[in-house]
Symmetry: D3
Subunit: 251 residues, 6 copies
Amino acid sequence: MRHDGREVNQLRKVEMIKDFIIHPEGSVLITVGNTKVICNASIEDRVPPFMRGEGKGWITAEYSMLPRATEQRTIRESSKGKITGRTMEIQRLIGRALRAVVDLKALGEKTIWVDCDVIQADGGTRTASITGAFVAMTIALGKLIDQGKLKTLPITDYLAAVSVGVDKQHGEILDLNYKEDSSAQVDMNVIMTSQGNLVEVQGTGEESTFTRSQLNELLDLAEEGVQSLIEIQKIALGNLAHIIDKNIKTG
Amino acid sequence: MRHDGREVNQLRKVEMIKDFIIHPEGSVLITVGNTKVICNASIEDRVPPFMRGEGKGWITAEYSMLPRATEQRTIRESSKGKITGRTMEIQRLIGRALRAVVDLKALGEKTIWVDCDVIQADGGTRTASITGAFVAMTIALGKLIDQGKLKTLPITDYLAAVSVGVDKQHGEILDLNYKEDSSAQVDMNVIMTSQGNLVEVQGTGEESTFTRSQLNELLDLAEEGVQSLIEIQKIALGNLAHIIDKNIKTG
Amino acid sequence: MRHDGREVNQLRKVEMIKDFIIHPEGSVLITVGNTKVICNASIEDRVPPFMRGEGKGWITAEYSMLPRATEQRTIRESSKGKITGRTMEIQRLIGRALRAVVDLKALGEKTIWVDCDVIQADGGTRTASITGAFVAMTIALGKLIDQGKLKTLPITDYLAAVSVGVDKQHGEILDLNYKEDSSAQVDMNVIMTSQGNLVEVQGTGEESTFTRSQLNELLDLAEEGVQSLIEIQKIALGNLAHIIDKNIKTG
Amino acid sequence: MRHDGREVNQLRKVEMIKDFIIHPEGSVLITVGNTKVICNASIEDRVPPFMRGEGKGWITAEYSMLPRATEQRTIRESSKGKITGRTMEIQRLIGRALRAVVDLKALGEKTIWVDCDVIQADGGTRTASITGAFVAMTIALGKLIDQGKLKTLPITDYLAAVSVGVDKQHGEILDLNYKEDSSAQVDMNVIMTSQGNLVEVQGTGEESTFTRSQLNELLDLAEEGVQSLIEIQKIALGNLAHIIDKNIKTG
Amino acid sequence: MRHDGREVNQLRKVEMIKDFIIHPEGSVLITVGNTKVICNASIEDRVPPFMRGEGKGWITAEYSMLPRATEQRTIRESSKGKITGRTMEIQRLIGRALRAVVDLKALGEKTIWVDCDVIQADGGTRTASITGAFVAMTIALGKLIDQGKLKTLPITDYLAAVSVGVDKQHGEILDLNYKEDSSAQVDMNVIMTSQGNLVEVQGTGEESTFTRSQLNELLDLAEEGVQSLIEIQKIALGNLAHIIDKNIKTG
Amino acid sequence: MRHDGREVNQLRKVEMIKDFIIHPEGSVLITVGNTKVICNASIEDRVPPFMRGEGKGWITAEYSMLPRATEQRTIRESSKGKITGRTMEIQRLIGRALRAVVDLKALGEKTIWVDCDVIQADGGTRTASITGAFVAMTIALGKLIDQGKLKTLPITDYLAAVSVGVDKQHGEILDLNYKEDSSAQVDMNVIMTSQGNLVEVQGTGEESTFTRSQLNELLDLAEEGVQSLIEIQKIALGNLAHIIDKNIKTG
């Protein structure tokens, strides 16, 4: 049993509150244990200059943390006047992951902006952001269908992300909280679809290394976690889930 | 009757959720109509370099809006690499206002950081920030007493803020929402204590001017609004309100 | 008697030198006691992108201090790479104030840039800037009439600004110099027209509060000061003053 | 056969020129096909402030490209005034990878700065940087031993990196050049030790996904490539290789 | 005769107003034709970190132009967030030139900050800045003697600067105004002492070249101009000039 | 004999490797003693906005040093977020010098970007950059002729640069290395053409002055050095040298 009473393969409690903020086209507050992220999706009717005229859409993400999302207050990036490497890495990851399950041609020349703002952090903020952002983005795209601006939902599969890691005491574990993450020997973020396909795997030994057999065990754990998260996404998405299910079947 | 059904001297619905975020020493989610601000207070055991050795404390505020707090997505200040003039003006105002009701000598060489993050905006974000920040700061100071780090609550009076303005159709009105604010001829923010003392008055004619008699009517309205807000603060503060009440009596 | 021999309701000596710099369309060196500000107005034949096509003009201000305008040398904002909150607040204030007495429709799609550069500071730099900027701007607009680019002077009233405050020893006082400003309990900047209308009121308790009756006494003092400043503006403006007088009468 | 005549599991031609630059403690020019990276290692006799007093060393990396390392001239990051997300990601990756095979306690309170400057780019610049940086760092540490500043070489194993990917035409391929990288469906960077342990795995579907069996085939290819690269490192390192070999044996 | 009626070897009218600004230790307004520069010298009782403990002083200069010093308004460097190359070049030049005639050891561990702010520009702003800055600096050092903080004036010679150039119509000319400077084929700034020694020579062909014999004629012209400027400096310096004269004699 | 065994009028060993980098239109690695600079020239088919429609070309240069080009590691300008004054001065100088020997009208509306990246520094990096950049630029222009995009080589003369200086021990010396440069009393950079015309002269007394006769001796030395450098350029340029020779003859 882990320090918070969980099994090694057990997710923390996950909740998604839809329409948390009224202005965005899609808005979700995702809660994973004590980690809370507001995911807002906005639709803009044009693409960045380098993509104009190609008839394809674009998805871009921004990620930020409130100063007191963390135990010690962190300085705002706007005060420092620049974005940290960590933030850049995460927002590039979120955007890339979402683009893997969207048919950008079917989207047409539109940009989806996804803002993931962590209001409370306890580990796993980037994976929670991706899992929540997928739902916020899908809701926003659903509105485009309602408004007659899109004919079909250009989403090819569900997408969720989870962290796995190697812990000195418990070995391979699923969904690390901050305390576990700080002391893990190996830390891996896995982004997958409902069909079990990998979108991104980022595994890192923290001043340490790992074997290929450990990698395989971690991927097994992650796959379990992702499937559970997708079940929760389906409930949040309601009718939109049926359309995705159909999209998956028809390939 | 105003476009949302309110009387000219009627506040929007106000709510305060304490301990909204778990990490900060004091945390409040304040809701004023559709405006929602997370106010977090952090205590640091030192003061900025220019104040060291004076035996006095300091209070500083930061203010920010999520990109989709507004109807149109706004660019993050961290992406732009600099803070706008509007943000700077507001965070200087919040800090200055709070310092007016804190006995900085009694606080000792500590800094209170107040973070006001607007997650949803519909007018009055700076006044909601001040009203919520006062409660978050008081809760944080209360914890210092519990921990034996402070002997008394160094707060001399309640502090709340409200906007008033002159509307073409309804004349002087209290607590403007975004729509009213956009078309107001005069816009004024008033920060007051429970004793009816002014801490800050900022009245602006928007490509327009106003008379001294209008100023007086606006101040009357604001005073009403501030007293109502302080009643709501008292409920949120519970026992801490009794200490403030005693502080006011003993001067 | 105040430390520099003035009565509580007495302005410092005020002078305006027109055409101080040869290049700008309007240029004034305003001297208020030891405070000296070069106010230059420039006309540009277009408006910022967000206003194009509306047929209205725009007025924007920039404010700066030379490093040795102050007793202690201050670091240049260009060296720091960013503008301080104080500077931003002041330049927003100057621009807003000037716009209140200009008929932006009559101005047409032009931008007036007003640069206020403090070469010597002794308190009241923002109010001196506004009082001088009004004259520089009016001279620049006068040239547009001479050049046949404008038919009428689009100025609806005179505009001047003054500081008032509450001093421990002398109570309410007019036109604070740096020494008085540093120790004042209440500090207020008042911007008014010749008709006694308020354009902006910014009153601040410095770690202190003030009553509504104090506010009223301060406004009385400010009104006196503003009327004296407008008399000096009239002399500087010469014939242009007659046009403004006529504009006021015809409303 | 691939467009440049290589087999799917064949590396490009790899060369390492030691002491390419005379000033750094360790310097290597690594050439991988048309990709050329100058890797310089510098030793500083202190650690960053957040690590002082812990008795441990630190390794940090910086990565940059000359404007004409690429086919189209790219703007310098110093001209833009900020580092791109891609650069940050890469330099964080290089530093993290190197730290995995260095015994930071044995290093003591020293910082190793590794500068990887790409002078000519044709794909695989980050993996070439890591492979070359390992040699530059080891040479620099060897000098510390010669100078009597270190007793043993604090390196626990060899470290090399290679890219693998999935190509539409040829399936899984090793060591992608720029042309192959641009059109790959899956792109993966693998960092491994001579013992076959993983240090970092970063696999990304480019608007696409991949299966776990593809992942396994890619890792097989990468392992082959890494072993070949380590053989080349051994030759470049000469006597220092014997010390590393001994370190591996004694664990 | 040149377009403003001057002979080829004639300076524009030069004036220096001492104590133009009251706060700095030394302050001069220098006027050269229509070019006007406020030169302020400040003394700080320490040197930059890299010089501490060497027992030597330092002199550093900053240069700036008001936006409407020029015919077309220029954007403030503080708004752009960075200093242009031209400004950097000029402020480095001013500091270097002044250091050539100051005995930095005799100055002791003090920094002289020289601020040159161009309020009106018509060519030759950098040379006017140097000529005026020398006087402002000398006055400031004189005050240190009066205050007993320095025993002798650590100035080894006078220093003045002037521009010379090659004009299509008039050949070699002295002290170019803006119009002449814009069309000159060769532009040269010469900084000299009263003893005829060179401190800095910067000659540039503007999309053109020049011969060594032209260089010699330009230097002859410059020497004449510098001697005239030094006569004007002597008058401005009064008694301090006698001390410099004595310093020159005693070498 | 100087500390490295050279005569006072002797250059260090100079080499130029053409086509050092494969992507740029022109690329040269210039080696002057231990100073090594990669000079890359890129051609862009348009000019900066301020020059459009004038039918003339433009040449602009950027200069940078790798962190370990120097004995002590220097911080990257991209990390600092701004370019130093020294860098700006040098890149302005390189661009200006090259423009003096190019017929910008004959070039037409194209921009030549010259990147000078110092990979190893031992004094004279700016003069080596100019000497190498001239060759890289000429090669790039030669390619435009080969591609039929230019009819003639728009180069009016050879261009090379060298440093000279006054040394305490050896008097006037040619081509200073870092050690000599650090202790020189006078430091001068001279840029000349093969016809002996001056393009730029920048002579500086380092906390010192120099006489006109010293200036003349330094120019004599520089002329010798420049002629030798041009001989080396001719060899590197091969056939292109013949075209330049013809251009010089036909004026």
